[in-house]
């Protein structure tokens, strides 16, 4: 196998979501140790409750309190809990139909082992110690052999209802950029800029992505370009980006490197922003230990005539 670059990549967002009135009542109820369902248009009590009837799509708002006890309708034994799941020790995933409800809620059941779990077994909500108005306010279910706990008849109206949730999501990847971009990044590491030529239209793409976007064929012939190039067009950035240590205003430009048929983009430095112009000749500036140019600066050559780069705009 050819040499392949790899790097860890973490995609992480705190998703902020607003709640509809039924979701808000349900999650606020969990905070107050009350489980609410909603009556569907066919009279069934849905738990967890939906904003709209799953069959007729009608808006449904008739909240009904159900019991914190119920019956397992199906289960699956999870001997290796994964990140983010309700329990860190082996547990059963369960669908639980709470007493008073006609549909089932997905959650975890804390049980000593798969032999202690069966469809039809009775369970009870174990509340989380700290509750914020989220489905995780139910820590999990636990086996329960007592009488059904009667629901309290709560109307579903609360002081200080939860209006939204913040759901953190994180996914970890090991990213590999593929053959063409690996070759490009490897060359950049030794301060060479290497594009690839299309065998059909003969254009040189930099950075290369492995395919000619015009012809739809693989590029393979490597061509060193630059390092000098010409500013084809540019913009002046006046808003400071978060976590970016560059004083505004600065210039971001399209640069056609000598020998390339596609402009790449980079920052122009070492020159006041209002003196950057189309046709300006530039070269890369590499900072110590960096795998890519920090910015481009003027070479001092005369500006390139418009005709030499007009096809690259």
């Amino acid at each position: 196998m050819p040499h392949v670059l790899k790097a860890p990549l973490t995609v992480e967002f705190p998703f902020t979501r607003s709640l509809g009135p039924v979701q808000s009542a349900f999650l606020t109820g969990l905070r107050e140790r009350v489980v609410l369902g909603v009556r569907g248009s066919d009279g069934r009590v849905l738990v967890p409750p939906a904003e709209y009837d799953p069959v007729t799509a009608e808006e449904i708002r008739d909240l009904v309190e159900v019991a914190p006890t119920g019956t397992v309708t199906t289960w699956a034994w999870n001997h290796e809990p994964r990140r983010g799941q309700p329990l860190g020790t082996p547990f059963a995933w369960v669908l639980v139909r709470l007493d008073g409800a006609d549909t089932a809620l997905l959650h975890a059941l804390d049980a000593p082992g798969p032999d202690a779990v069966r469809t039809g077994m009775r369970v009870r909500v174990r509340w989380a110690g700290e509750r914020t108005g989220a489905v995780t306010d139910i820590a999990c279910f636990e086996p329960y052999d007592g009488e059904p706990e009667p629901p309290g008849g709560h109307p579903g109206v609360f002081e200080d209802p939860v209006r939204g949730i913040v759901a953190p999501a994180r996914l970890d990847y090991t990213y590999s950029p593929g053959r063409a971009q690996t070759a490009y990044l490897d060359a950049l590491g030794s301060r060479r800029i290497v594009g690839e030529r299309c065998p059909s239209c003969r254009k040189v793409y930099v950075p290369p992505r492995g395919a000619c976007p015009t012809c739809g064929v693989a590029t393979a012939e490597q061509v060193e370009v630059g390092p000098r190039g010409t500013v084809t067009t540019f913009c002046i950035v006046n808003i400071k980006a978060k976590n970016l240590d560059i004083e505004v205003p600065y210039v971001y430009a399209h640069i056609a490197l000598d020998g390339a048929d596609l402009a790449l983009h980079a920052r122009i430095g070492s020159l006041p922003y209002d003196q950057v112009r189309m046709g300006l000749r530039v070269e890369p500036v590499w900072s110590e230990g960096s795998r890519y140019p920090d910015h481009y600066r003027p070479t001092g050559e005369p500006d390139a005539p418009y005709d030499t780069y007009k096809e690259l705009l």
Partner: protein, 349 residues
Amino acid sequence: MTRDIAVVAFAQSDHRRTSDELSEVELLMPVLHEVLERTGLRTADIGFTCSGSSDYLAGRAFSFTLALDGVGAWPPLSESHVEMDGAWALYEAWTKLRTGDADTALVYSYGKSSPGSLRDVLTRQLDPYYVAPLWPDSVALAALQAQALLDAGHADEPALAAVAARSRADAVTNSRAQVRGAVPHGDYLVRPLRTGDCPPIGDGAAAVVLAAGDLARRLCPRPAWIRGIDHRIEAHSLGVRDLTDSPSARLAAERAGAFERPVDTAELHAPFTSQEIVLRRALRLGDDVRVNPSGGALAANPMMAAGLVRVGEAAAAVHRGASDRALAHATSGPCLQQNLVAVLEGDPR
């Protein structure tokens, strides 16, 4: 406007656990070239291009726009994309051809699951309020469905294992498949599902070409005519559904005309053994129907492509005369939440 639309060519990549040396477009491009070559068409001849993929798999934003580099988007294409399995891209392309807006379509899809942790990635498609915060992974949800099936008496664990063994034995003749031949049924991954009940995780791509009317006959000696195609979705809340049945698959099959005459072959997108049992009942497939002669999703399950592969495999069986009337099925979401059914026929011989 009523026009006959056919699948005239199908191609797929090898499906492998990893493809580190290839970007998405590098994975996809040879498949696009192969499918076009089978018809003699060039990109510029194609009336409509539609693809299916998901950026969550490899964690790479807008990967579908980069994938277009492999098509060659000049002159500018009439193009669309679905964040779904390519079978749904095929549905969109079929609709486009039915309207008469185009006479040919290129449909492709790809999935590169190897950079991420697929079981966790798939939790992000779930209800974000009540379900996703619990991070129930894809195998866990399928296991809940499998247990419901066992409880209902529709299957037992040996029956599940038999589905796995038959699928992987059939995959021996499919050089593209990822898992072929006899493999141990393994330990529980999430009980009652064992590793053998679960699909392999892998990278892969697939493409088909659709054509209308006489053009289809010129491009393919025996076109696979799409006699009907439909897709249906169920409520997203798992606890509302009867997990032992698939009313959405049945309704899609009915609307696609699958029950009008028997099929001889069915390519079912059943990533888990238990789901094949649910689908066979819902689609009323008897023992005389060849189910997944390709090995199905238990032999190769490239996300976003495995459903399109089912349509492609069913069409390829018609192309080579191995089938006269085939059912192709694709699924999406947890526990067969959404289902697409197409009925493909060859001209009488």
